[in-house]
Amino acid sequence: MSKNLRINNKQFVDETRKLSFVFNGKKLHGYKGDTLASALLSNGIHLVGRSFKYHRPRGIMTSGSEEPNAILQIGNDDALTEPNVRATEIELYDGLVCNSQNCWPSVKFDIGGINNFLSPLLPAGFYYKTFMWPANFWEKYEYFIRKSAGLGKSPTKQDPDMYDHRYIHCDILIVGGGVSGLIAAKIASDDNKKVLLLEDKELLGGSLIYDDSDISKIDDQKSSEWLKKLIDNIKKDQNITIKTRTSLAAYHNYNFLLARQNLTDHLSVSDRNNKIRQRLYKIRAKKVIISTGAIERPQVFHNNDRPGIMLASAVKKYIDYYGVRCGLENVIFTNNDSAYETALSLYKSGTKLNAIVDIRDNSSSEIVNQVKSLGIQIYWNHTIVDTKGYKRINKVTIMKLNDKGNDVIGKKIELNCDCLAISGGWTPMVHLFTQSGGKLRFDNKDNIFVPDKTNLDQLSIGSAKGDFELDEVLKNSIKDTKKFLQIENSNFDKINVKCSKEKEKKNIWLLPSDKPLSNTKPFLDYQNDSTAKDIKLALREGFKSIEHVKRYTTTGMGTDQGKLANMHALGIVADTTNTNMGDLGTTTFRPPYTPLTFGTIVGRNVGQFFDTFRKTPMHEWHVDKSAKFENVGQWKRAWYYPKDTETMHDAVQRESKAARESSGILDASTLGKIDIQGTDANEFLNRVYTNAWSKLQIGKCRYGLMLNEDGMVYDDGVTTKLGENHYLMTTTTGGAANVISKLEDYLQTEWPELDVFLTSVTDHYATACVCGPNAKKIINKIFKDLNLSDESFPHMSFKEVKLGNINCRIMRISFTGELSYEINVEASYGKYIWEKCIEAGKEFNITPYGTETMHLLRAEKGFIIVGQDTDGTMTPVDLQMDWIISKKKYDFIGKRSLYRSDTIREDRKQLVGLLTDDPNEILEEGAQIVKDENKKPVNMLGHVTSSYFSPTLKKSIALAVLKEGKQLKGQKLLVPMINKTIKVTVSDTVFLDKENERING
């Protein structure tokens, strides 16, 4: 630590707690209370990074979230390292390790720096213009562009930190704990409102808390002393909840806001164990007060980006708050009075101030007069035309401005400095206001955009609304807050504020130089290296909208999102095109205000908590038998049950054979089940399914197909008539929730006259499905008294029986083509009945099979799976299921759409079977089908929807959708793959047991 840079300041920095940290491999020291930036500066380090495009050396520029340059890689752990961390925001902790980004081999010697000399060849739009030709070179270009794109390195391992979410409701949310926010909090609390106060720094008080000026006074006290008493008061206030280190990320409609609190980032790594790192607050506020303050603007002149060039307000904060001198020989360059506060801070701390350069003709405010009286040299009506010093500024050259302010005159004066403090005025932080949908108004006096119209219950106060002088800030904040909260009186009504008043204002968006613009580098966006030249180039090339200029030049598109750059970019566009800035408007401010880490966004919803998942009552049994699972909707379904070293293919072949040759058992509990009751239940089924239901008898089951109103297949399933006005509908596993929603929609909105009640009973029942030639024998062993003869219990019928005390609903229905019984029991008996079936089936080699085998078995029979063989563009006619469309019914959902001009086209894609010429060749699902692969462009006729190797048929089978498929049976077609072309023949969709004989065992 350089002794002469650290000055005595015990108020905010604890000099008894020395912290060590490592920057670019070098061990350094700072104190508790420092930010990484202030600690680096106290070690004389300004140069921390290289710019993105030209790799120019860049130094710490600001003291807050607007920092464009000092973005570092924190940590070197593969899991915990974090790129693009602003050194100005991260609190120093013991053991912090950080590195510069975007430079190689080091920040001091960076090979990419050659881009700076090539910069005349790299104007705005360089990439767009250069890498267009020849078009087929793009893949090669892309490799190199991707390599050079992006800043920093992402962690490569899973984030081990914990993150949390919490909801908060409050009467008044106050964003920003500066003086205006604190006053508003107190006024609201005194009115008995529940107040939530957010502050992104660790301490309340904003910039006034370290203001040591004796010019500004509140109630005859030093303003910072007055503020400290207010803060003490607020901390004791029961109505006010304070969250520090909490930055507001997003302000959405209806006063819904997201804020991120840092809980451990300021602790040494060893103190973070088992603590939540960050918490995301989801806030609903009845009213919102925005008091986020303002950020200082730089000035735009030639070579305004060297390390050592900083915002004047930052230089002041580093002295007054952190006790760190940013340089030993300072020059200030300003267009307004606020930089004179920096002059006074430098003077009071005994730091050398060589000169102040002010573009105004004069200023006679109290503060300027005080600086004048100290004998500090002020160059009025002067501007900086150049700076020198590659890795650190060492000289500025100034010249006199002409009357119009568009050129420089007279002779050059050189001033030595190792720190140049610049101020171009202040920009209210209106980001949150505009995020919430608020509209801005341009204030010509201060050249700022200020909040104007909003639809929400919100208020902007303080410098966030454009009040910059202390008396205005306080008086207007009190007045506006009272009006906003509809309060007559407050304890602040008699407040007495004194401060210096600025009288002279002058603003030049792009300062002139003695060189032509084309030979200068006046930077606007430091991070993205866009200069005033780039903006002018974009305008010359015809870009008019500010949104287009932004994207073409990348101004404001860095991690700082143009917090510093945007106003000057707008100003230069307005000046060049002779437009009023108010008419030009701003680019859109989007959340988050500062970057959020993904961990904060997802909170606890990671790993097994990413989504809820549903398990059947038999789940543990499947787990015990080493089943592999697949996700179907939210369900975990047994996919297949590998034995020993079996592959998936082996297991599925074995399971399929067993089901066809003896017996198999499937957990079908996940099928959607809807209990339908009411005197109009039958009429309802007639309206929602394509087929007729009027004649269905009690105890019988029927397969139904449900369409959307557009005629496309929506869902299918078997419905059983349990009683006169009582049905049990089954749906697909994935479609259950949507089906009941759709049915409820029709009942509530289109057919409210129907007496029908729907209840989802999916979770109430567990289903074991026993199938195969020996299924009847197995069921007979369990239900000894049940007559299973085909006469008494035929296919598509239902029986209700008791097994001890357990009510069992048995449906004889089949999705495999085999003799098959589905036993439904109350969910809590699911595992019992499953094990009962397994035990009874032992002698018949009963084999549990999963969804993959189920899919294979049904494909052999040509049964569709909605969502696999259909995709929302298939009508029942396309599926060759004309038989299920009732001709007699007057109406059902989707009926009218089945004879629209488009749905009756003969050349629609239709479901067909495919057989490969080589019976061992298995097609890939999704593969395209063509007739002629040589004629380009190749005409795609359709694609494979289901494909398996059938162990029973000993050949590969597939279902596909194919243009004019019905006409193409027997045709030879091609399925081109990456390294081969597979020959196929169009076939019938039913591959096995076309006569349906297996259904009876």
């Binding site: 409609n253 557009d710 009926k895 009218r896 629209r900 001009s901």
Partner: protein, 91 residues
């Protein structure tokens, strides 16, 4: 994220609801009487206006009731909520 005042449950977060598109489009009583154009008008054509739009919402993670909402699409302000079967308000 809206706050929606369900006519049956009270004010709830938008995440409990789903939107069901434009309201007051009754399903034709006799679809078979309609020609293709008329049927397409019912099936596909929806308004997309800047200003007050009448739409259907369902309290899907609550009472599961459908109701109507008059929403200003320019600022998402909900001007009026009214039950199914009621006429759209004059706004």
């Amino acid at each position: 994220m809206f706050l929606i005042n369900c006519p049956y449950c009270g004010v709830r977060d938008q995440s409990e609801f789903v939107s069901g598109g434009e309201a007051h489009i009754a399903r034709p009583k006799q679809p078979t009487e309609l020609n293709d154009d008329q049927w397409a008008e019912y099936l596909f054509m929806r308004k997309n206006i800047k200003g007050i739009q009448f739409e259907r919402w369902n309290h899907v993670h609550g009472c599961r009731k459908w109701f109507n909402v008059a929403r200003d699409t320019s600022n998402d302000k909900i001007e009026k909520i009214y039950k199914m079967g009621e006429q759209p308000p004059k706004i």
